[in-house]
């Protein structure tokens, strides 16, 4: 998520002070994304430079400024909300690489490598689930943020499960000559890049 657009979203509700924006940002993200005040002010300065917000001094407090969103900022926010993030990059994450490397190394049990990562992921998921266990003490934003993390980790576990099953089936079949899967993957997945 972009801090820039999160601040625009908060300002679309009405003018706010910098410190107020920081507090509201943390509350809205279920307090799972701490933000320092320097990040808030640097981002606000850039937004002002780009004409997306404007500021005015507070009469009784010269250290404080009120920020408000401009029409350009409203348009930028509306556009951002509807633009899907780029998820089309080829899978080059470290875990995938480790499993692919394990597959090529003699003397390495790939299933053990997969299980080590699976256990770590499930332990992380147990910790996230503990955080939402007490339903009465969990607000909606926090629950949504925790769910998002659980689904993300779950998808990795599912990939490991699928890899484990695929390798088990493949071990019963003769090996296929395949020097390196990554260049082929890049060609297929990252076609428009």
């Amino acid at each position: 998520m972009s801090i820039r657009h999160a601040l625009l979203a908060l300002l679309s509700e009405g003018p706010k002070y910098g410190l107020q924006l920081r507090q509201e940002f943390e509350t809205r993200t279920g307090e799972v994304w701490p933000l320092n005040v320097g990040q808030v002010y640097t981002t606000l300065q850039r937004l002002e430079r780009d004409g997306l917000v404007e500021s005015e001094d507070v009469p009784d407090d010269e250290r404080q400024k009120t920020f408000r969103i401009t029409a350009g900022g409203e348009a930028e926010l509306a556009d951002w909300l509807r633009t899907p993030p780029d998820l089309s990059l080829p899978p080059r994450d470290e875990l995938v690489i480790k499993v692919l490397v394990a597959l090529r190394l003699p003397g390495v049990n790939v299933h053990e490598v997969i299980q080590a990562h699976r256990r770590y992921l499930v332990e992380l998921m147990q910790q996230w689930t503990r955080l939402k266990e007490d339903e009465s003490g969990v607000d909606l934003s926090f629950a949504l943020a925790v769910d998002a993390e659980l689904f993300r980790l779950d998808s990795v576990v599912r990939w490991l499960d699928s890899a484990d099953g695929r390798l088990k089936r493949a071990s019963a079949e003769p090996p296929v000559e395949n020097p390196s899967p990554m260049p082929r993957l890049r060609r297929r997945v990252g076609m428009h890049r």
Partner: protein, 240 residues
Amino acid sequence: MSFLELRNVSKAYGTGQAEVHALENIDLAVDRGALVAVMGPSGSGKSTLLTIAGSLEEPTSGEVTIGGAALSAMSRNGKARLRRRTIGYVFQDFNLLPGLTAAENVSLPLELDGMRSRRAYAAGMAALEKLGLADRATHFPDELSGGERQRVSIARAVVGDRHLLLADEPSGALDSVNGEAVMRMILMACHRGMAAVVVTHDAQLASWADRVVFLRDGHVVDQTMPAQTPESLLQSGPGQ
């Protein structure tokens, strides 16, 4: 001694060349108040483990004890009594009787155990109330949603004075919100002192457990370590 213990349990089907080892040398201990998840792919032996732990099937070798009593030393009637009084089962497809209302389904195990029907019904109602289902008590299974049916089957599994809950893919056919509700109920039962084992291939479901045991080709290959303080996760935040 833990409430449920499997010691060196193996199970084989068939003989000679057709022999299949569904479980080999399984050790598992579950205390009262603990929720243990058994995770593994299809065919890893999860369901066999659960049916042996629940005395529905006998191991080829090894010993199962429930509440300190060895199942191998029990008569058939003794095991049936244990299943009626001590163990609650939750299945993926609910297994509710279609001709009985929710309350009647829940009170049935108590009636089968000889409890007078009025008392059994009151206990059934109490179990439904605890799970927030009192307003569904007079509904028949086909008048309930999938999530409600599974909650009724959990009420049936915890009704009376049961100490062991065994669940086989309890949220298999449910969406994630209902799946979470089911796991919360199982966890509540553990907080009241039940020992519970949930077998699943679903990591989100398993993550509700205190301990996750990984099964592969009939062997326990790994288990999760006790969790760290979850608050440490919030120092970095998700996705960073």
